[in-house]
Amino acid sequence: MKESFDVLIVGVGGQGTILASNILGEACLVAGVSVRGAETHGMAQRGGSVETHIRIGGVYGPLISPGTADLIISFDLLEALRYRHFLKTGGTIITSDAVVIPTSAFTDGAEVPTTDEIMERLGDVSCTAIDAAGLAVEAGTILAQNVVMLGAASHALPLSVEALREAISRCVPPKTVETNIRAFELGRACLEQ
């Protein structure tokens, strides 16, 4: 049995993790690969920490267990740290370099690690942080950060660029296809050697 390629997409409710996972799922259909996924719905979407599991080539259950994800795509640097234990040995993290500061930091004085501290704690794994917000704005809208992240992660995904592009144009509102494709290309280009 061929193993699935397991991707965990994490972020803060409202950042578009579900659209990103839909794009990956759709790209699997384009590529003719089986796929399973699991999502966070309901209350956690009110600004809570959210996770989406995608098993590319998966034929069994949708859940990814700690220590087994091939790739973590994180829309928030702090969330990359929170979910890093899902990464398998030798796996990759692609993350946004920005942190949405948890409200508890302001209301209860909760300690939030700084960007440098987070990067240091992630120093022992293959982790690349990109300026997703800046690239999304460059593409035309801050809302396209999720697609920028997919572009950056595309080098690590077992899916062709054509399949991903096709999936984007199928999943996003027709009027925004151009902007999102631009966001994808900018994300992809920023990690090109």
């Binding site: 803060v12 409710g13 996972s21 839909n22 799922g25 759709e26 699997c28 259909l29 089986s34 796929v35 399973r36 996924g37 699991a38 999502e39 966070t40 719905h41 309901g42 209350m43 956690a44 979407q45 009110r46 600004g47 809570g48 920490s49 069994y60 259950g61 949708p62 859940l63 267990s65 700690p66 220590g67 087994t68 702090l78 969330e79 740290l81 929170r82 890093r84 234990h85 899902f86 398998k88 040995t89 500061i101 948890p102 409200t103 508890s104 930091a105 302001f106 209301t107 909760a110 300690e111 939030v112 690690p113 704690r121």
Partner: protein, 589 residues
């Protein structure tokens, strides 16, 4: 081929269309809500869909529809089935003529629920067939078959997906929606539909007589399958079966339970062929109890001897661990990696500009020593503000409040309940509190919608599930009509007005009702309502941090000054809180 990447609940809705559904009702509840949401928004098939005011109402509506011979569905979350348990247990006696499917979505791990009850127990209790899909694809085929099974055996069928079915996705090949339509026609038959003692005794016997054939049918039709491959076996059901299938080795036998009741003779024949059996299922040991009953010399492992937990949800790693502990080598092992420590939690929060936050703030100011029973909705998040002292089930804020008020407890009781929850099961509690002379304040948090489950309309919204305008009910009129002598309405954004109303309530005896009204900000934004955001003038801000303590996620604090971010929805409440007057309307929309 038309393969799509679909959400479990969408697949379930799609299967209903393919099976020629004629009638659907339900009450929203995570993880079940999207089924009716898909059905009410789709355009492929024309049939009756309603959001009902509670699960009992939804159930009885759908049951009666099935009595007229049409195919009907009722949906709810697991705890909703408690509300509908009264008609459920007797509907098994009356049976149905049209296919009747009860969708009760379980939530192992209580991702979004107050308990982890197992709906399979209800099906066994009621003696009705239960379908328990192991995957999104199976949810599709089982839901398609469910209506016909119901018609064949003349009983309601309980369809029990769990969160990891409802909110999982899979590549699925949907079929086209069915084109046949049935028209309801009620045939008078008191022996079946009037459950007076004389009739019900006969009906109970008939129900019991149906059981063996149903159990056999589930084996014959492949809902329950078994494959003998060795001297040890795994028996599993629900989503756990898909975890087990990934980890089982080729020389271990496998039986999969997709439907209940389980045929005891068939199960015994399978168990008897093995020396050791491990049962893997989430929540209650329903399969395990049947296996233990069937086993004579076979050693049975499962929850009851400690290899698996009775609570929470399973995962591939948890199943692998159970297999190892019971002496079954899994084909994969999972490392035990602890999560990082020292990361601030990121719980869900009331939205920026949510009216509930302002009401809680005012309550805290006026009732410093209050007791605050609450209810189920977004406002349960008020626990983070210290304003939720109890939550047990839908509608219980008012009743718990009146119970405490009558107990001799001297501190003032102020309970909170949302509009949808009030209409669900709050009204009776209010009627009872007024009639029996409780001394308490009831704050109805009226945001005109059922917000937490995804913004479904209710009788307070002014539209039905299918978007047809319907006059919104008057919550104030309901409160007055059940006898509440003092009912006051305030905008949730009007801090001064809220505090005045709460103070007046505090000074009065009896049941006082305050309706705090302001549309949910998310729903309002969807309706196109935009308010100018607020800004902090750094010259005036003294850095006292009072606005920050309010807890709006749009307010941050940097370098000794408050800052309002782009999340601001312009509710204006923080401007009223700031003692320096540093916060004012500004910026672009």
């Amino acid at each position: 081929m038309n393969i799509r990447y679909m959400l479990g609940n969408e697949v379930i809705a799609q299967a209903c269309l393919e099976a020629e559904i004629d009638f659907a009702s339900g009450y929203p509840g995570t993880p079940s809500s999207e089924v009716i949401d898909y059905l009410r928004h789709q355009k492929d098939r024309d049939f009756y869909v309603e959001w009902s005011v509670n699960e009992k109402v939804a159930f009885e509506n759908a049951l009666a529809a099935a009595w007229t011979g049409i195919r009907s569905l009722v949906t709810m979350k697991h705890v909703g089935l408690n509300v509908a348990a009264d008609p459920l247990l007797t509907s098994a006696y009356t049976g149905v003529t049209g296919g009747f499917v009860i969708l009760s979505a379980d939530d192992p791990y209580a991702h979004s629920s107050q308990n982890e009850q197992d709906s399979r127990r209800y099906a066994l209790f009621a003696k009705i067939p239960c379908l328990d899909p192991a995957s999104v694809r199976e949810a599709h085929s089982m839901m398609r078959a469910a209506f016909a099974i119901s018609e064949e055996v003349g009983l309601p069928v309980l369809f029990r997906p769990t969160t990891r079915i409802c909110h999982s996705k899979s590549d699925v090949e949907p079929d086209v929606p069915g084109t046949g339509h049935r028209i309801g026609s009620f045939e008078r038959n008191p022996q079946q539909y009037v459950v007076i003692p004389k009739h019900t005794r006969v009906l109970h016997k008939k129900l019991n007589e149906k059981q063996p054939a149903i159990a056999e049918m589930f084996v014959d039709r492949g809902f329950n399958t078994a494959e003998v491959r060795g001297t040890t076996a795994i028996i599993s059901g629900g989503i756990a079966a898909s975890y087990a299938e990934e980890l089982i080795s080729d020389d271990v036998s496998f039986a999969k339970i997709g439907a209940y009741p389980i045929d005891a003779a068939w199960l015994k024949a399978f168990v008897d062929q093995h020396e050791t059996v491990l049962v893997i299922e989430e929540l209650s040991p329903v399969i395990e109890e049947a296996v233990r009953m069937a086993a004579t010399t076979t050693v049975v492992h499962g929850k009851m001897d400690g290899h698996l937990p009775f609570e929470g949800e399973l995962s591939p790693a948890a199943v692998a661990q159970a297999m190892t502990s019971a002496g079954f080598a899994p084909t994969k092992t999972y490392p035990v990696v602890p999560p990082e420590e020292g990361i601030p939690a990121r719980p869900p929060l009331l939205c920026a500009g949510c009216g509930h936050r302002a009401v809680f703030y005012a309550m805290k100011k006026v009732f410093k020593d209050g007791i605050f029973p609450s209810d189920i909705g977004c406002y349960t998040l008020g626990i983070q503000l210290g304003m939720v002292d109890t939550t047990i089930c839908m509608g219980a804020s008012i009743t718990v409040g009146s119970g405490i008020a009558h107990s001799g407890e001297m501190r003032p009781v102020v309970c909170t309940i949302g509009d949808s929850t009030f209409l669900h099961t709050g009204i009776q509690g209010l009627l009872n509190a007024v009639y029996n002379g409780a001394n308490m304040t009831v704050v109805i948090l009226d945001n005109r919608i059922t917000a937490m489950t995804g913004h479904q309309p209710n009788p307070n919204t002014g539209v039905t599930a299918t978007g047809v305008a319907s006059p919104p009910v008057s919550i104030e009129a309901i409160c007055r009509s059940v006898g509440a002598p003092w009912v006051e309405t305030v905008s949730s954004y009007d801090l001064t007005g809220l505090m005045q109303a709460l103070q007046t309530a505090k000074d009065r005896e009896g049941v006082k009702v305050i309706v705090a009204r302001q549309p949910c900000v998310i729903a309002a934004r969807r309706e196109g309502i935009r308010r100018k955001p607020y800004v902090v003038d750094p010259e005036i801000c003294t850095g006292c941090g009072l606005c920050v303590k309010f807890g709006c996620p749009a307010i941050e604090f940097h370098d000794g000054k408050a800052v309002i971010t782009s999340l601001c929805s312009g509710c204006s409440v923080c401007a009223d809180i700031c003692p320096a007057g540093a916060i004012h309307k500004g910026g672009k929309q």
